[in-house]
Amino acid sequence: MVDHLFRSRAGQMVSYLTRLLGPDQLDLAEEVVQEALLKALQKWPYSGIPENPAGWLFHVARNAALDAIRHRTLAGEKSVDVTADRIRSAAIDREIDPALEDQLRDDELCMVLMCCHPALPRDARVALSLKTVGGFSTREIARAFLSDEATIAQRIVRAKRQIRDDGIRFELPAGKDLAVRLDSALEVIYLMFNEGYAAQSGEDLVRRDLCQEALRLARLLASSSVNNPQVHALVALIALQTARLPARVDSAGELVLLEDQDRSLWDRRLVGLGFHHFAQSAEGPLLSAYHIQAAIAAIHAGAGKTEDTDWKAILELYDQLMDLSPSPVVVLNRAVAISKIRGPEAALAALRPLAEDRSLRNYYLLPAVQGHLHFDLGDKETAAQYFQQALDLPCSEPEKRFLRRKLGECS
């Protein structure tokens, strides 16, 4: 079976059925899809995998939807009756032909844009997209976001209720509405990606799956009618960064910094994909924050050796990013670029304004970077204090081991 077939087809089937049943029946769509997958789980161990697994799943999900509607109609619910015909006549056979594949992509797109409606709270948009389009379970979403299952489940239930109450429609928005929704979708995908990428753990595969799902959704937008240079920039950014994942942890499970990575381990296919979309992002006058971040990732990806990295160009890009969308994290990353050109002291000076910033209070990377800079200055005592401070903040196991190693080098 194709990797992640169930996960990705689950998203497509839910989207497809939601179009037929209406957004207020999103729960029903999810239920029947789960039922179809469950049937496969019960049957395929004995029968083997059918010739066309996706077609099999679609067929069973469709029948389950018809059954559910029949039950509800018998129970006196009028609202779902009209949809039965629509499902009965839906072109679902055991084969999924190219026309249906196109339809499925459109449906997924509509679903992403529905889940990313700006009326929904941002957290809910991310969780709902992962659940409905991504085919993630609430437990998996909770694990990926280091949250608990009940919180995520509640977030999703509320979002669905709001979709019903606000009458948010399952359709491709037009004009200004489309631009707003697309921005929101890009933000959701970016958050998804960051969450997966920031994990750095490699120990929990679900988080790596977040990067893959973000890439899949970004590519879905890029290959659709709603694509624009910003979408391509986001695909480029995600692809170029995801390409580095295999090199971030060595065979012993230890964290490897970008400058020490074995660049031959970078995923060439993803690097190629990233540059392809980066080129397409250059069309038009718009320069978004995604463009700048993609450009930074492209410089790293283009450097065959660490020493070849064009830090001057990177610093210029961070300067632009500071103008366009300043944030404490940008200040931090920019300081790293400064250290490569003007040395650790200049970098520490650039970090000084962050001392007052409360949003980075629990962000271990700030003291970790400060530790590095003091270490480079030869002040091992101060460096040790910062590494210790970083260790006291939440971070993954490989990160902890890395910081402990650094701390050891200080004494």
Partner: protein
């Protein structure tokens, strides 16, 4: 070669909260295990049974037919594999790595009584 029936029981409610990704993983494990039996040329057949209830028939003359059986435990008979093995020890050994066990199910192993008694 003697034949053994492997009857797989499991608790369907166990699967209710499992994610699509986890389902696919479980299926792949099962398919891999089944494939191994095929490659060893010891798989005679395997079928999933339709979900309960089936029919239970009793009595002579006036046969009573009822729905059932309803399991008294949460575990239900899901399906069977029919394999060949030299003896119970070998049949059990070949079943040891069946994914059904990993996922909390129970397997009943029963030798098929041959039509013609062996010497």
């Amino acid at each position: 070669m003697p034949q053994y029936m492997l009857l797989l029981y499991d608790d369907p409610s166990h699967w209710m909260t499992i994610s699509p990704e986890e389902m696919q993983k479980a299926i792949e494990k099962f398919v891999g295990w089944r494939e191994k039996l095929v490659n060893q040329k010891i798989l005679v057949g395997s079928h999933k049974l339709m979900d309960e209830p089936g029919k239970v028939m009793r009595g002579k003359g006036q046969v009573r037919v009822t729905d059932g059986p309803y399991s008294e435990t949460k575990e239900v008979l899901g399906g069977y594999f029919l394999i060949e093995a030299a003896d119970y020890r070998e049949a059990v050994d070949r079943t040891r790595d069946c994914p059904g066990l990993e996922y909390g199910g129970t397997i009943e192993v029963r030798q098929v009584d041959p039509m013609v008694p062996r010497d």
